[in-house]
Every structure is written in structure tokens, then in C-alpha cells.
Symmetry: none
Subunit: 243 residues, 2 copies
């Protein structure tokens, strides 16, 4: 698993619901290793509820007494920080963070601090990089589970992990071919003439060109083309029967 070297570390989380939300976000994005440093309440029913189908991550989460214990085996430590620190710390946005993390096999910890106060200076000093999620400067505090979601999403994206679904989703649709399209446009033009639509105007070519654009852009399936042809024929029949 390409992200198996990545651990999410949540420190002193106050609301257990946020731990559940983070677990769900992790599992959605193929992360599995969660460490909790002195959570206020854990295990917790709220955490399980918010985790939805990801409570297996909660079961396997390691509860640690100190941050040092949680990152003991980590060679790369990145701390998420809501504030842009004035201290000259190497700073990454989520995309840069994802590039760095997926570009290494070093065991990596990404730290998320307290809901209200983030990481302490002491904790920041354990970090090789700070991670900052760019956002509205007038309302910049993300929910901690939402922050985990954004970072996990970028990790998954960078990991090049296409959904299996997407990868195997070979498009086997039968599209209308050039001959069929030309024949359709001819039919359409006939009907426009029969209803008198093209006689009324000098802009015949520009109208036909516009219609071509509309129907080429939509990339018609063969079945859809048959439907439209059926409608055109329906118009012609209706006109003839009323003659």
C-alpha cells in the first residue's frame, strides 16, 4: 500500500467526534495508521458514530502518553499549523506536503494539534516541516477532521492512486461515427427546410454551423443519435399526415 508509511497523529483532541471524522477521512483516502496523544475521551461512542464504516481504524489506533512516543519510529515529521508562523520554518502547502511524503519511503508522521490552540512550540520543534492549508485569512481555523480530510485527499491524489473503478472504467460506449453524424445533420437540415425555418432567414449557414457545434460538442452516442433521428422523422410524418 503506497501510503502505509504515513501516520496521522492527533494531539490532545477534545471532541471525540473529530477523531471519528478523521478516521473516516483517512480510510476514504487509503490511510490506516492513527496515533492519539492524550485524547480527552477515547474510546468513545461519538468517535465510532462519526467514523461510520472506519471504526476499524479506531480499534487499531495507538493511544500514546507523549508525542515522542507517537513519533518514535518516524524519520519525517510534519506539523499542521493554522497560523502562518513568522519563524523561518520550512513550510509546505498540502500539495507540496503530499509530493514530499509520497516521494519517500521514510516513516512519516503528520501532526494535528488541539482544536483551539493547535501545536505548542515544543511540539513544533519536533517537526521537519510545517504544513499550512491555505484558506480565507478572515476565517482560517479549519475543523481538525476537515484538515485531515484535505491533507489525506492530497496524499491520495499524489499517490497516483486512481480509484480502481476509474482505472478499469474503459469507455465502451458506441458513439455515432462521422457518417452517422453527417447523415443526421442532413436530416436535421431537411426538417428545418420543411418547417420553413431556413427560408425565413438569410443566416442559413450560421444557423447550421451553430447546430453542428451543439451536437458535436455533446458527443452523441449511437443510441442517442437514433433517438434524435426518430424525432426528426416524427416531425416529417406529422407534417405529411396533415397535408
Amino acid at each position: 500500500m503506497p501510503l502505509s508509511h504515513v501516520r496521522i497523529v492527533m494531539i490532545n483532541t477534545t471532541h471525540p467526534g473529530n477523531i471519528g471524522g478523521a478516521a473516516r477521512a483517512m480510510k476514504n483516502m487509503g490511510l490506516a495508521d492513527l496515533a492519539l496523544v492524550e485524547p480527552k475521551e477515547f474510546p468513545s461512542g461519538d468517535a465510532i458514530a462519526r467514523a461510520a464504516g472506519a471504526s476499524d481504524l479506531l480499534d487499531r489506533a495507538r493511544v500514546c502518553a507523549t508525542l515522542d512516543e507517537a513519533i518514535a519510529d518516524c524519520e519525517l515529521v510534519i506539523g499542521a499549523s493554522a497560523r502562518l508562523r513568522s519563524i523561518p520554518w520550512p513550510q509546505l502547502d498540502p500539495r507540496e506536503c503530499a509530493a514530499k511524503v509520497t516521494g519517500t519511503t521514510a516513516r512519516t508522521a503528520i501532526l494535528f494539534g488541539r482544536e483551539h490552540s493547535g501545536l505548542t512550540n515544543d511540539e513544533l520543534e519536533r517537526c521537519h516541516f510545517l504544513l499550512h492549508i491555505p484558506c480565507n485569512p478572515e476565517f482560517s481555523s479549519l475543523n481538525v477532521a476537515a484538515a485531515v480530510q484535505v491533507v489525506a485527499y492530497e496524499l491520495f491524489h499524489a499517490g497516483g492512486q486512481r480509484d480502481d473503478g476509474l482505472a478499469s472504467m474503459v469507455d465502451e460506449t458506441a458513439y455515432a461515427n462521422g457518417v452517422q453524424m453527417e447523415s443526421f445533420f442532413g436530416h436535421l437540415e431537411d426538417v428545418l427546410r420543411e418547417i420553413g425555418f431556413l427560408h425565413e432567414t438569410k443566416h442559413v449557414m450560421s444557423i447550421l454551423r451553430r447546430l453542428r457545434r451543439i451536437f458535436n460538442r455533446t458527443h452523441l452516442e449511437e443510441k442517442e443519435l437514433h433517438l434524435l433521428r426518430g424525432i426528426l422523422t416524427g416531425v416529417q410524418r406529422r407534417i405529411q399526415s396533415s397535408r
Copy 2:
């Protein structure tokens, strides 16, 4: 404000906490326009609690009885879908979605469906594009507020990088809005009935659905819509004159 043309539409949301979480995620990323279609419980204390400092968005959220009401003025409608639909619908990932949305001034709605069942087919038929967040195929259902967070993050990210020369590439085409599209589909259906096309078959709904797909997928400009309406009127006149 670069994202002021973007509306988040949440449909039949069951848990008010998710509405609050979405509002917070939106405000974090500079989005302000929230519409709620038949929320199960709103206003709600849970929503306010999860919104943290973003309850102003909840105060200004518009509660709508129908999706059509929520997207009436929207020229671009994008539906978030957890499932990869087998139907060949133009599909975007969050980054592609952000590029498209920040590259236009058209009023845009991004739809998020129910917690358990997402968007209905009827709702999908209002969409020009589907939005799929790539994720772990074995656990692919994101929490709806988390999905809003990911999409909003990409919008903010794309919007923030638009200051350079790219501004001149903004698509200022006037597209048909939701009201115009519904009115067009109504007109089309009328004509199909008048020519007897829908009487001949039991598959009325499936035909209308197919036609919706064709014309939504092509993302009609307002001018193109007028042309098509003109053709429909031409058919009706021709039929009447031959009576």
C-alpha cells in the same frame, strides 16, 4: 470576491451537523452562498455548533422547496457523485472542477446529495458535469461536509492562483440558466407530444431523460438555446398552419 459566483447546494441533508460542518468548510475557503433543499432539520443547534464561527452563512442560507428553485439562476450545474456512473457523463475530479469553476463567471451550483444515497437520477439530469472525489475504492463514501471541504479547498486553491495573466482567459459566455433549461425541456416535450412522438411509446420517461442528458451535456449557451427554441416554435407553426 473570486468565488462569489459559486453556490453550494445541499439536498435533503439528514444530519444538521453536516450542514454546519459544510458552512464552516465553505467560510474557511472563501465561499458564502449556501442553499439547502428540503433539509431534514433546519435551523438547528447542531448545525450552529459545528459551524463554529461560520453561523453567518447559516443565517443567510436559502432554504428551498425544490432543486429547481435552488439552481434557477445557475448557468453551470455540477453534481457531486460518490459512485462512478457507468453512463458516460462528463466527469471532473475536484481539481478539474475547480479549474472549470474559477475559469468562468457563470453563476455556478455544486450539488451535494443525501448522506446515504447521494443524488437521484432526476437531480443528476440537471447537471452539466459530475464531480467525483477520487478515493479508496474499498471505502469510498465521504462524509458530505468532508466532501464540501475538499471541493472548497480546491476552489480556493485554484482561485488564489488566478491573479496572473490567466484572468484574461475567463469564460464570459452567457450560458442558459436553470429556468431557461427547464422551460426548453418543457417546450421540447410539448412538441414531441404534438407530433405524436410520445404517444407511440411506453418509454416516455426514458426518452425525456435521454434528451435531457444530451442537451445538458452540451452545456448550451443562451444564444444556442434561443436557436433551439426557435426551431421548436417553427415546428409548431408548421403543424398549425397545415391544419
